[in-house]
């Protein structure tokens, strides 16, 4: 039994030498990233459950979907969630997953000859890694905008149960996106330094798995927090 040679030695990274025997024939890091994603699922399950448990139990406003009148001042605070804006940022994040798929494909097919202009564009790993990173950063920009506007409207992490659970949940997700963007930038740095080739596809593959996971989690958050009243 020998490991299929789908991955080669990567200079300047910690990839194990190709001769290392593995039971499943896949790289250890691929197994580990799945275990990591399993663990992350429980992390977000805990965060999302807490948000749902505390939904509708805040003593004071603002609230996500309902308006609230401050009994002491008579101020009316409108529902705070801005669904059209967040839908846009969700779309951007979804698109980033598509770019990530293209980036992985580009790295895997690096050595294949490119004949048409379309093939050359599709085969440009830097382009798609950039696009993914930019889409991720755009999502983070939207989140920064959302957070600041909430603070202006009177909702901070200390305001009420909704504020605490909302900011913590979406903030944790945002931190995951940030880590993903840094990961992508690191891959880009490697690409610029020595070029990513098909032998590096595992490096991009595990980054992509992580990125898609973070994306899927956002779909769940978007549905449960924003769409369901």
């Amino acid at each position: 039994m020998s490991a299929p040679a789908t991955h080669g030695t990567v200079v300047h990274t910690s990839a194990p030498a190709a001769h290392h025997y593995t039971t499943l024939g896949i790289d250890n890091r691929k197994v580990a990233i799945w275990a990591f994603i399993g663990s992350e699922c429980m992390l977000f399950v805990s965060l999302i459950s807490t948000y749902l448990i505390y939904k509708g139990r805040s003593v004071v406003g603002p609230f996500p979907h309902e308006s609230w009148t401050d009994p002491s001042t008579g101020h009316v605070l409108k529902p705070i969630l801005n669904i059209p804006v967040t839908s846009a940022s969700t779309f951007v994040l979804l698109m980033s997953s598509l770019f990530m798929v293209l980036a992985l494909a580009a790295v895997q097919n690096k050595e294949k000859p490119k004949r048409t202009r379309g093939e050359r564009i599709l085969g440009n790993s830097r382009l798609w890694l950039w696009m993914t990173a930019i889409a991720g950063s755009t999502f983070l920009g939207f989140q920064a905008f959302e957070f600041t506007s909430f603070v202006h409207e009177g909702l901070t992490i200390r305001t009420n149960l909704f504020g605490s659970s909302f900011f913590t949940l979406t903030g944790f997700h945002g931190a995951h996106v940030t880590a993903g963007v840094l990961w992508l930038v690191t891959l880009l740095a490697i690409d610029y330094r020595r070029g990513l080739g098909s032998r590096d596809s595992l490096l991009v593959d595990i980054a992509a798995l992580y990125w898609h996971f973070v994306d899927v989690i956002w779909i769940v958050i978007f549905t449960l927090v924003y769409l369901i009243k």
Partner: protein, 617 residues
């Protein structure tokens, strides 16, 4: 002593070549040496936690005593629980995971050697972080379960709880990193022919434990993040004062982690005795597949029983019924394990070695903990038992009678593999009997003091309550433990230096780790073995014996054999250091946070961008 050792090593526990000196230990990525580091550190914390317990027992030896203040007593019981769970039993198990998993599955190392070093250093620093405060009487004082809102700022304004919240976060990082590592190792680094159903039972239980860790630790992480945010940033997760928070949120999150944690503590010990009992009975483990499935079932059910810690909170009859019944169900796979162990010994040729005595001790004592466990699986009955000394008795039969007995069985069994020398059996047996007597004298009377109405976590009690005798007995028993431990420590260091040379397989055991020299060379297996059976050395085919013959030879270095070994590196230690500095900064200054984060990120990149091992030609 029966021995199938092929040759006898000339060295007792020294690692040859460049592998010595302080620097080699700081920069090691060898799973065996990391295992040894875990073993020493965890034994230290085990004794530290023991001293805490002895002070508590001294205080409770008679009514209305004032050896320590109420406040310090609360710190003692909080830290006793925290220390024993997170700094002693889990890392003792981790010591065996580290040392044994690669050897049992025929691997050269774990999947991520540097991550493994990182796990250890984070554990060490985290352990120091959470332990040092008690020396200054500012230790965590909210109980190991840290119930909100008592642990929130309005009710615990001091820094005590901060140490606990941050310390547990740090230790969680270590446990999770180790879990990913071992999980990958067991899934992906098994030698050819080492199918899942041929894995030694210890590795199987370790496998189940890693899955539990991976799924349970994120939940406590989030629960602690909420508490951390509440305490440091003024969020409202447990703010019952002005935000209308529900204190049961903490309890649910904590016990969703906390109950699987019990199995995280006890399954490794189950795995160890499942190696020990067959070896000294000269018989394969009885009902291996059922032992595997029952382990999996215990773990799976373990995620559906958490609220049995909360029968007194008034969850309503439906929830009580559900959690009561699922808890009872766990008794079935647990019972099967007990019966299968007894059946393993039946018709065998039992040798009363120290390891075997501890193993038998586990079967006998854990049974008591199991039976008392069923008694509070019944929610109405639990209403009289919960938060009394009956519970203290129960979980000490589970965690001392189960985990610690199993771990000592493992230490006596594997000491020769780790050091190349045997522990003294005569001292070992004294250690066993003293421990056995102390254990029962301390914890059995607690069943009575509990049923006679004595609450837990009280620093003092009045006279005339009918508890004096049982408390005096418990306290007397507790004073025997240090004698037993001193004998063990003496034996440990004496045997380490001058114990009888062990040879590769002093006990005539059947699994792969006994086919290589003791202590094993840094590369473990000169040739990755091919496995055809659960006990390759007992019932293996020619190819097993062939592997064993090659691997039992010694004296060759990795270079001579053409084996590529990973570089030693200090970087994981620095990443761990950065992490700790960052967390310390949370309690002191933002400058430290930045410094720690900077050190961490820099070392991490440096680690990730440097190769693990020399390039293979």
């Amino acid at each position: 002593m029966a021995t199938t050792a092929i040759s006898t090593p000339a060295y007792g526990g020294e690692y040859s070549g460049e592998q010595s000196g302080l620097w080699s230990w700081l920069s090691t990525v060898d799973h065996k040496r990391i295992g040894i580091l875990y073993l020493y550190t965890a034994l230290f914390f085990f004794m530290f936690g023991g001293v805490e317990a002895i002070i508590m027992r001294a205080q409770l030896g008679a009514p209305n005593q004032h050896l320590v203040s109420a406040e310090f007593y609360n710190q003692l019981f909080t830290m006793h629980g925290t220390t024993m769970i997170f700094l002693a039993i889990m890392p003792l198990s981790a010591a065996f995971f580290n040392f044994l998993i690669p050897l049992q599955i025929g691997a050269r190392d774990v999947a991520f050697p540097r991550l493994n070093a990182f796990s250890y250093w984070v554990y060490l620093f985290g352990g120091i972080f959470i332990t040092v405060p008690i020396l200054f009487a500012v230790a965590p004082n909210g109980g190991w379960f840290g119930y909100a809102p008592l642990t929130t700022k309005p009710y615990s304004p001091g820094i005590n709880i901060d140490f606990w919240v941050i310390g547990l976060q740090i230790l969680g990082v270590s446990s999770l990193a180790a879990a990913f590592n071992f999980l990958t190792t067991i899934i992906n680094l098994r030698a050819p022919g080492m199918t899942l159903m041929r894995m030694p039972m210890f590795t199987w239980m370790a496998f189940v434990v890693q899955i539990l860790l991976v799924l349970a630790f994120p939940v406590i992480t989030i629960a602690l993040v909420f508490l951390l945010f509440d305490r440091f940033f003024g969020t409202n997760f447990y703010n019952t004062v002005s935000a209308g928070a529900d204190p049961l949120l903490w309890q649910h999150l904590f016990w969703i982690f906390g109950h699987p944690e019990v199995y995280i503590l006890v399954l490794p010990a189950f795995g160890l005795v499942s190696e020990v009992l067959p070896t000294y009975s000269k018989k394969p483990l009885f009902g291996y597949p059922v032992m595997v499935y029952s382990g999996i079932l215990i773990a799976a059910l373990g995620f559906g029983v958490w609220a049995h810690h909360m029968f007194a909170v008034g969850m309503g009859p439906i929830a009580d019924t559900f959690f009561g019944l699922t808890t009872m169900l766990i008794a079935i796979p647990t019972g099967v394990k007990i019966f299968n162990w007894i059946a393993t010994m039946a018709q065998g040729a039992i040798r009363y070695t120290t390891s075997m005595l501890f193993g038998i001790g586990l079967v006998g004592l854990f049974t008591i903990g199991g039976i008392s466990g069923i008694m509070h699986a019944s929610p109405p009955a639990d209403l009289q038992q919960t938060d009394t000394y009956f519970i203290v008795a129960h979980f000490h039969y589970v965690l001392f009678g189960g985990s610690i007995m199993g771990i000592f069985a493992g230490i006596y069994h594997y000491f020769p593999k780790i050091t190349g020398r045997l522990l003294d059996e005569r001292l070992g047996k004294i250690h066993f009997w003293l421990t056995f007597i102390a254990m029962n004298l301390t914890f059995f009377p607690m069943h009575f003091s509990g049923m006679l109405g004595m609450p837990r976590r009280i620093y003092t009690y009045d006279s005339g309550q009918g508890w004096d005798l049982f408390n005096a007995m418990s306290s007397a028993g507790a004073m025997i433990f240090p004698i037993a431990m001193l004998i063990f420590i003496y034996n440990f260091f004496k045997s380490r230096k001058s114990g009888e040379i062990a040879g590769s397989n002093p006990w005539g055991a059947g699994t792969l780790e006994w086919s290589i020299p003791s202590p094993p060379p840094d590369y473990n297996f000169a040739r990755i073995p091919t496995v055809t059976s659960r006990y390759p050395l007992w019932e293996g085919k020619e190819v097993d014996h062939e592997s064993a013959r090659i691997n039992s030879q010694e004296g060759k270095t990795a270079a001579e054999l053409g084996i590529v070994m990973p570089y030693n590196t200090i970087k994981p230690l620095f990443v761990a250091l950065g992490l700790i500095i960052m967390f310390c900064g949370l309690m002191t200054s933002p400058f430290l946070i930045a410094l720690g984060a900077g050190l961490m990120v820099f070392s991490l990149y440096s680690w990730l961008l440097s190769p693990l091992e020399p390039e293979h030609h």
